[in-house]
């Protein structure tokens, strides 16, 4: 992709400084701080966070409650501007309204008045170049595209159902489809499996892994669940309690596709325990 742009952006300390990639899914946080409120009421949510996500990486962001994980997510999609420092995607500063990031929250937030098919189609109505083609292709190509994706996540035959006719896990599958339908280079997940029961959650990890391996977007997953992060991510970043800082940056190199039995093996459990200890050491607020 585009070569490294030297000039304007202040140099970032990367783990592999010789090979600075600027792929479309490269995200860089450079000494980013975020402060909410002013004066006496000011709360510092993030403190000098420097982090780089390379193209196609799956990064799990874990940390104690209120440590600013979601704040990082909002910075990436431009819903929030940093108080100081810069956030860049593919070498360009994040600007609101200029991105087309896929995002999924814990709450499926499907539109109750639309069928699953129409819900998943919503990004195609908004993101270019699909937007201009929407009227012409809605019934044919886009429909096939939606149906193919739905079938892949196990929602074949549910396209014409309404969200409330689906279980929580199925709604969350549809939510993932909506986040991915326009083929985003960036996928942001804010505890998307947090509200699901244990078994449904594990089933969805599998689906998520499959989608990622096939499409390879850069994913930023915010999670409370270390097992989830270790199962899905290629790299785990642990954050401290507020003000949030990255206190551990750890590659996860288990073979893919990972399976649920693997999560009970020694290495996997050892990794979880090590990370858990880090979070326990953090003084919680």
């Amino acid at each position: 992709m585009a070569p490294a742009q030297p000039s304007k952006v202040t140099p970032v300390v990367t783990r592999d400084a010789t090979r600075v990639e600027q792929g479309p899914g490269t995200i860089k946080f450079d000494h980013v701080s975020v402060t909410f409120g002013r004066g006496m009421d000011a709360v510092k949510a993030l403190d000098e966070v420097t982090l780089e996500l390379r193209d196609g990486e799956f990064v799990g962001l874990v940390g104690p409650s209120g440590c600013g994980k979601s704040t990082i997510l909002k910075l990436v999609c431009g819903l929030l501007a940093p108080s100081s420092g810069t956030v860049t995607i593919a070498g360009k500063r994040v600007e609101r309204g200029k991105l087309s990031v896929g995002i999924a929250f814990q709450n499926p937030t499907l539109l109750p008045w639309l069928t699953i098919e129409r819900n998943v189609m919503v990004p195609l109505k908004i993101v270019e170049p699909f937007r201009s083609q929407y009227r012409a292709k809605r019934r044919t190509e886009f429909r096939d595209r939606v149906h193919a994706l739905l079938a892949q996540v196990g929602l074949k035959g549910f396209a014409n159902k309404f969200p409330w006719q689906l279980s929580g896990g199925m709604q969350q599958r549809a939510n993932l489809c909506r986040a991915l339908i326009h083929g985003p280079k960036l996928l942001l997940l804010d505890e998307p499996f947090g509200a699901l029961d244990h078994f449904t959650r594990e089933a969805l990890w599998g689906t998520m892994q499959e989608l990622w391996m096939q499409r390879r977007p850069t994913v930023l997953l915010v999670s409370h669940d270390l097992r989830e992060a270790a199962y899905l991510a290629t790299r785990i970043c642990v954050m401290s309690a507020r003000p949030g800082r990255i206190i551990c940056d750890q590659d996860v190199s288990f073979a893919r596709p990972r399976t649920i039995p693997m999560t009970y093996e020694h290495d996997f459990v050892a990794l979880n325990q090590r990370l858990r200890a880090l979070i326990s050491d953090v003084p919680t607020t």
């Binding site: 087309s100 539109l111 990004p123 908004i126």
Partner: protein, 259 residues
């Protein structure tokens, strides 16, 4: 099964109405109430049928005035509601004024409207507009202002403009709120029209009732009331029908889901 249940509900509603009028008739006859005080339903119906030819133009006038006033109220209500529902600044700054405005008794405004526009159709239309737009404003604004922030975030992250969000999420989401308010607005629009006609007009059911009561023609007054409530129910039914088509999703009707 479903159909039988609905038939049952409709039957009970018809029975209730019939029971009401029957009780009225029986009580009037039992206690020998004079027609000057409270006419019997049978008497009212007879008057209505006898005088229907003369009442028809007035009926048309009232319906016409109410529908025009209601349509304008809907337009104004949706516009203002849309504005204050999407902008926090407009919401906070405009609400006190709106509440103050809506607290004014509308009867007090009618003479002013007559001074400005003369007696007749215009003040009646304006009165029903003024009286019916407020519930619409409140509900549309509430519907828009309570859109889930996460849902908005999903669309913003996709690069959606404010207009995109309004069109794809805000407006459809507001429909159940809008229709809830339309039912209120429609009935109060009638009150606005009739009140205005009673005070300053030479046409409409309100005028007829005014003149009839001046002549102690109490059955005719009640005939007018009956007409007004029948019209109210009819317009309500129309709006309920449209509501079902547009916002069936909010009621989670199985028939809607299958359709």
């Amino acid at each position: 099964m479903q159909l039988a249940k609905r038939m049952h509900e409709q039957m009970s509603s018809i029975l209730l109405i019939m029971g009401f009028f029957l009780a009225w008739e029986v009580l009037c006859r039992m206690f020998g109430v004079s027609d000057l005080v409270l006419p019997k339903p049978s008497e009212i119906v007879v008057t209505l049928v006898k005088q229907f030819h003369g009442l028809l133009p007035h009926l048309i006038q009232t319906v016409y005035t109410t529908v025009v006033g209601f349509a304008l109220g809907l337009l104004v209500g949706v516009l203002i509601g849309g504005l204050i529902g999407t902008s926090r600044l407009a919401y906070n700054s405009a609400y006190p004024l709106l509440i103050g405005f809506s607290s004014i008794p509308k009867v007090a405004i009618i003479p002013i409207l007559v001074v400005w526009f003369g007696a007749g159709t215009v003040p009646a239309v304006l009165t029903s507009l003024i009286i019916c737009f407020f519930p619409i404003v409140v509900n549309v604004a509430t519907g828009l202002a309570t859109t889930e922030p996460e849902l908005e975030d999903v669309l913003k992250a996709l690069g959606a403009s404010k207009l995109d969000i309004l069109w794809n999420v805000g407006l459809p989401r507001t429909m159940p709120y809008l229709f809830a308010s339309l039912k209120v607005a429609l009935t109060v629009a009638f009150i606005g029209t009739i009140t205005s006609e009673t005070i300053a007009s030479n046409q409409g059911i309100g005028t007829v009732m005014m003149i009839a009561s001046a002549n102690f023609d109490v059955p005719l007054v009640f005939a007018g009331l009956l007409l007004v409530s029948i019209m109210g129910v009819a317009l309500y039914a129309v709006s309920a029908l449209i509501e079902q088509k547009v916002t069936g999703w909010a009621n989670r009707k199985t028939e809607f889901a299958m359709g």
